[in-house]
Subunit: 205 residues, 2 copies
Amino acid sequence: MKLQFWFEFASTYSYPAAMRIQKAAAARGVEVGWRPFMLGPIFFAQQGMRDSPFKVVPVKGVYMWRDLERICEKHSIPFRRPHLFPQNGLMAARITTFLPQEQRPNFVKAVYQANFVHDRDISDPQILHAAARRAGLDPLEVMGTMNSEPIKEKLKKETSDAADRGIFGAPTFVTEDGELFWGNDRLDDALDWAVRGTLRPNSQN
Amino acid sequence: MKLQFWFEFASTYSYPAAMRIQKAAAARGVEVGWRPFMLGPIFFAQQGMRDSPFKVVPVKGVYMWRDLERICEKHSIPFRRPHLFPQNGLMAARITTFLPQEQRPNFVKAVYQANFVHDRDISDPQILHAAARRAGLDPLEVMGTMNSEPIKEKLKKETSDAADRGIFGAPTFVTEDGELFWGNDRLDDALDWAVRGTLRPNSQN
């Protein structure tokens, strides 16, 4: 059984999802595909939005930061509200797109931690260099892919693939039979569906 | 301990919340305040939106209907996708505003069922009349309040009160210490917070 985990580096709720998904999936024997994509073009195409919805609608932003804080506390995930929001995750997404699946989780988590724990600018090559090193990768090899034309194209293709599947936000979990589950708070439902093809009646939500 | 349940009759996710909240709250000894309000003026004031976000952004609408179907199945809540969406819940909200708290749940649930089980137009006085009767109320007394000026004012006041608390969608659960939880999928978290002032670490989300 496989679950596709579509995430965007600028997405705040993708952070707890990225930190939680490996353990939760392993507990159910579900394999995870880590799929970075860019929400910006999707927000613009679908909603004409040129910024995060949490900036466009400030009252949603106020809620989101408090909600994220509560969620991280609940799951014992370190969290410090970053000064920079939304961040530009394009380079991080390109690097991830270049990596084989097995190398993605550690790099992705290192980038999210740079953003949401250490308050760093994740578009800064030095920060990405450090994240690659922390993930056990060869920074020089990895950094060279940031401006690779085939990788740029591959990420664009992934983004249009996400839109084609009906994705409009992040994180989104997609099961093998094509069910979409939007939001960190749907991770367990998505995993249940991946295993059983239905939702567990006695779980939350 | 008390939890305020802010809902809007046109809101699809308010339906499963209304059907679930009494049992879930009773199990934790939490008292529920049923608070109807109007999302239309709030959507317009905060986002300039003149229609449901599920109509304004069709891809979100496609997701929402499938998601709602799954949620209702999971909780064994009857559901039939209504032909009319979004519905005009103004009259139903006025009637509810007139009712004392103890009479609200049965009437509110009867109206939601008219919408999401029986596919009826809940702005139709005949449908509201039937819902009132089904809820054990005196339909004549109740229907007379639909155009009462004090009730109109009271509902407007409730709506501006909702906006003042930071509410931007429905359902929203508000604890006594002012924490907001948005969405049917946060009902259990909201109840946990109402009881403990924190979230249970081993629960979902």
